[in-house]
Structures are given as structure tokens and as C-alpha cells.
């Protein structure tokens, strides 16, 4: 197999990791919405933590993206 083809296939495989990120972010936001619904007073305290959690989970997806970029352009 040529190296170029292997790079493309590797980059595509690296993006499979983004499935976990989708589940993770959905989990964070879903739990946050449920909590805000049950206890509206908690929204002011918990919303910053929700944003922090979202960014932390998104970072993992970006690590997978970095692997894909390294394979495609490195």
C-alpha cells in the first residue's frame, strides 16, 4: 500500500474517537438540563461548571483531530 493511501486511512480511523466525544458532551449537557429543570435555583451555580465540563470533553475530541492532522499534513 502506498504511504499516501495509508495516511488517509489512518486519518479516517483517528476520527472514530470523536464518537466518544459526542456521547460525552451529550451526557454533560443532558444531565445539566435535567438538573436545571428539577432545581431551577441551581442554574446560576452549575452553568459555569457545565461550560467547563463541555470544554474538557471537547479537548479530547481535539486530541483525536490533532492525530488526524499530523497524519494528513505531517
Amino acid at each position: 500500500m502506498e504511504i499516501e493511501a495509508a495516511k488517509m486511512i489512518g486519518a479516517g480511523l483517528a476520527c472514530i474517537g470523536l464518537a466518544g466525544v459526542g456521547i460525552g458532551i451529550g451526557n454533560v449537557i443532558a444531565t445539566s438540563i435535567a438538573t436545571f429543570g428539577r432545581n431551577p435555583a441551581s442554574q446560576d451555580k452549575l452553568q459555569p461548571i457545565m461550560f467547563l465540563g463541555f470544554a474538557l470533553v471537547e479537548a479530547i475530541g481535539l486530541f483525536a483531530l490533532v492525530v488526524a492532522f499530523i497524519l494528513l499534513f505531517g
Binding site: 461550560f51 467547563l52 470544554a55 471537547e58 479537548a59 483531530l65 499534513f73
Partner: protein, 242 residues
Amino acid sequence: MAGPLEQFEVKPIMTMVFEPLGLNMSFTNSALFMAVGVGIAAWLFKRGLEGASLVPTRLQSICEMLYEFVRGMVLDNVGKEGLRYLPAIMTLFLFILLGNLIGMIPGTFTYTSHIVVTLFMGVCVIIAVTVIGLARHGTHFLSLFAPSGVPMFIYPLLIPIEIVSYLIRPFSLAMRLAVNMTAGHIMLKTFGGFVIAMGIFGILPFLVAVGLIGLEIIIACLQAYVFAVLSCIYLNDAINLH
């Protein structure tokens, strides 16, 4: 026609190369927008607080909101002792926020999209936090890596994991910010390319690009907040060991 990656090239505006020592101290587009960002922050606080009144004017209101936001964040995450480090956290927050937002203007350069800039900031934060922890607690600082309430036989496994997860913090901070900015801008340029390539149906990628710009502005502010909040959390780890 340029591809989506050309926007990240660092181009010298005023070339200043000193050949004998091999120094390249050119004033680049990255340095220009860093200067613009710092200038905006300095102007905002100087002009906003000039005729400071009890009922704030609009610019003073912006300064007060920024200050209260960052101060509240430091108080929440570190406690009263963290207020000594408020200027550092505020500088970090404003530098990253202005860098991200300036990059949203078409034709400018996002200096926070380069890993060298964000890695330097991340390493500065970790070195500062480690030095603060060591100065405050001495060798007791190393108890950070050995949490209490754990059975003895797990320690040989747990301590290396804790050390590695501590040392990876600057890299995760740096990569989170740099790749968020890079990926966002690549997406914008790709959709921009679709608009031209699709002719009359280019209205559809155009609408997507408008939505994406809104999302990118949200992500810009969010990433600045996350960097600052994580720095506060690492500072809290060093000052109040667990």
C-alpha cells in the same frame, strides 16, 4: 486561490534579520496582532476608568463586569489567598480572549492558534503553580501526588499516574486552545470555499458559515474562560493541597 491552511502562516511585516548570530527578529503579523490585543486591553481599562463615577458609564461598566467576573472566578476556585494572583489570571484571560476575538475579524491573524504561543502560556502557568506550591509548602508539596484514603498497595501504581497527569497539564491546556482555534478557522475557510464553488446554490454554505461564525465567537469566549478557570484550579491544587 489559497487553501484553508494559508491563514496560519506567520509572515514578517518588517524584516529584521541579524545574520552573524542567526537572529530573525522580524516584526511579524502575529506580533502585530498581539500588540493590537494588548493595546485594546490597555486602552479599555485606561479610558473606561478615567472619569470613574459611582453610576458607571458604558465603558466603565464593561471594565467592572470583566473585573468582577475574573475576581469571582478566582475567589470561587482558589479562595481568598488566590486574590494575590488575580492580576496574572486577569492578564491571561484578557490576552487569550482578545486574541481569539481579534481572529474572528476577516483578514486578521489569530495568534492563539499557534501551539508555540499557547504552549508557552501553559508552561508558564505550570511552572508558576509548581514554584508557588513548593515555596508555600516545601517538600510537603509532593503529597499532592499521594492522595489520602487509599489502601497502601495501590500507591506504586497511583503515584506515577498522578505525576504523569500533573505533567501533562500544560500540554492539554495548550492543545485545547490552539486546536480549537485552528479547527474553527479551517472550518470557516472551507465553507467559504464552498460558497464560491457552488455558484447560485452558494447561499446554503453561506448560511452555514454565518451560523459557524456565531459558534466560533462563543467558542472564543468559552476557551478563554476555560483556560483561566483551569489555571485557577491548578493554582488551588498548589495552594490548598487537595
